[in-house]
């Protein structure tokens, strides 16, 4: 039995929890450029480097593009690197994201989920990271500050696994997680050190083994490298599960791998969520259950690699399912919905799905909003070509009447 009581508990924000997780992971290089609501992470890290509690090189860069470039430089000489960003900053480093994943550099980055301009807004939604889904980064969405800290440590373990060597993005909902204070348990350094061995990589530039790095290829060899990236990402699924299992054995907390379920076993109506809104959905499930409605929540933790099998297993038993996207791909639907539907397309029983687009630009999603989603799921029309198509994507909690 693990005695976690001796561990220190601190009252910190999600940003600070990430900074604590980073310090415990002993990165050698941190490249930083501040952007709201991520700023506190890099502020805390600079303080830790300044007071000597974190032995790392802290590089002030002039932009997010440079933050990613500096992290790549660090990773290419075998250093463990960290950076953090948000929103426009993530898009500004987009070129670098593909470079890092193509170069198989296991950089860990925290992204504070924030909406994209225009209209300009500092508040949260998932449109920044969802638009980077194809950049070859592992993407996890955390629900609370504890998961943020724990996943920072796990991120290095997963990203640096020799079969993975893929960069890792930890997504925290802007303000809802980054700026909300919670009681967080801080693992002990000694235990983290034994969970997370020092970084080693075959792609290390050094005087002993001079390398040509980041070379170009002709069409005759390019696809092989892309296949490798895809395979590494697929293989990371088992590594993620193993990292979670060993983490829970050592620290007493499990996040159940690629997805987490709440009351899904006998659920007839399942809502798929990602990030902090999962907590709200858990409460809504409780109130629905009191009313005798068999509701459940499937928390999608990883968007890449995508937990296709898990989703198929869990959702194919439902009467209907909803996907709550804090994102929309204009002209179609939410990106999570598309991905979930694709996973289900291989199953014999393909229940009816509805897409709830909510939370854009920081719009609140209340327990009541989610209760209404479950009620809508009960009424989900089953004719595929009429009402269903028309009503399957709906905007939650619009402030105005849109029935023009």
């Amino acid at each position: 039995m693990i005695d976690t009581r001796k561990n220190e508990s601190v009252f910190v924000s999600g940003d600070e929890a990430v900074a604590l997780g980073v310090r415990l992971s002993r990165p050698q290089v941190i490249s930083a450029y501040p952007i709201t609501p991520q700023t506190i992470v890099v502020e805390r890290l600079s303080e830790m480097v300044e007071d000597g509690s974190l032995d790392a090189k802290y590089i002030h860069v002039e932009s997010e593009h440079s933050a990613m470039s500096a992290a790549m430089g660090a990773s290419s000489v075998g250093a463990r690197a960290f950076t953090a960003t948000s929103s426009q900053g993530l898009l500004y480093m987009a070129e670098g994201l593909h470079y890092a994943s193509g170069g198989r550099m296991p950089i860990v980055m925290m992204n504070a989920n924030r909406s994209l301009a225009l209209p300009w807004s500092i508040f949260g939604d998932h449109r920044d990271s969802m638009s980077m889904l194809d950049s070859g980064w592992i993407q996890v969405y955390v629900e609370d500050a504890q998961e943020a800290l724990d996943m920072t440590i796990q991120a290095y373990r997963i990203a640096e696994d020799p079969s993975v060597l893929t960069p890792f993005m930890i997504n925290l909902d802007g303000f809802i997680l980054t700026h909300t204070y919670e009681l967080v348990e801080v693992p002990r350094q000694k235990e983290v050190d034994s969970y997370l061995p020092p970084f080693s990589t075959p792609n290390k530039m050094s005087l002993e083994t001079p390398k040509s790095m980041g070379f170009s290829t002709s069409p005759a060899d390019n696809m092989e490298f892309k296949y490798q990236q895809h395979k590494a990402m697929m293989d990371s699924m088992e590594v993620i599960k193993k990292a979670d299992k060993e983490f829970s054995e050592m620290f007493g907390r499990s996040y159940h791998g690629l997805v987490d379920c709440y009351q899904c076993d006998d659920a007839e109506y399942i809502l798929v969520t990602a990030g902090s809104v999962t907590g709200t959905a858990r409460v809504a499930v409780d109130t629905m259950r009191i009313k005798g409605i068999k509701a459940g929540v499937l928390k999608l933790r990883f968007m890449r690699p995508f937990p296709e099998q898990e989703i198929r297993n869990i959702l194919s038993g439902a009467v209907s399912y909803g996907v709550l996207d804090k994102d929309i791909s204009f002209g179609y639907e939410g990106t999570m919905f598309t991905n979930v539907n694709s996973a289900l397309s291989g199953s014999k029983n393909f229940p009816r799905g509805m897409n709830f687009v909510g939370g854009l630009g920081g719009r609140d999603i209340s327990v009541q909003d989610i209760e209404e989603m479950f009620i809508a799921l009960q009424k989900c029309p089953d004719n595929a070509y009429g009402d269903y198509i028309k009503s399957r994507v709906s905007f939650v909690n619009m402030g105005v009447n849109i029935n023009e």
Binding site: G102, G103, R104, M105, L165, P202, N203, T209, P210, K211, S212, M213, G214, F215, S216, T217, A220, D221, E224, F225, Y227, Q228, K231
Partner: protein, 102 residues
């Protein structure tokens, strides 16, 4: 001068034989790379003082010192940019049009 030698590249049979990402041991050259040159730098050895400024400025690192201590351009990899000719303090390098009939 230690110059990497050209090695034949045969496409690996298995994906496992590819490096993990585009990273490989340094100096692995598989083909000459000079087909795009319009002008070639020609060093007038009687004017050249051996200052080796050209060696410092050549962006492709293809200027070297021969065993006799003279300046030599590796035409297999010179791209014909003319930086060496422009920078030579003694105007000892001429850019001569390549004869495409060769």
């Amino acid at each position: 001068m230690d110059k990497p030698e050209l090695k034949d590249f045969t496409k690996p049979e298995s994906i496992r034989d590819y490096p993990v990402g585009p990273s490989f041991y340094g100096g692995h050259l598989v083909s000459v790379n000079s087909g795009w040159r319009t002008f070639r730098p020609v060093v007038a050895l009687d004017t050249c003082t051996g200052c080796f400024r050209c060696y410092l400025v050549c962006p492709d690192g293809v200027i070297a010192k021969t065993e006799a201590g003279k300046v030599a351009v590796d035409y297999d990899f010179c791209k014909g940019c003319g930086v060496c000719a422009h920078e030579c303090p003694f105007s000892a390098i001429d850019m001569v049009k390549e004869d495409i009939s060769e």
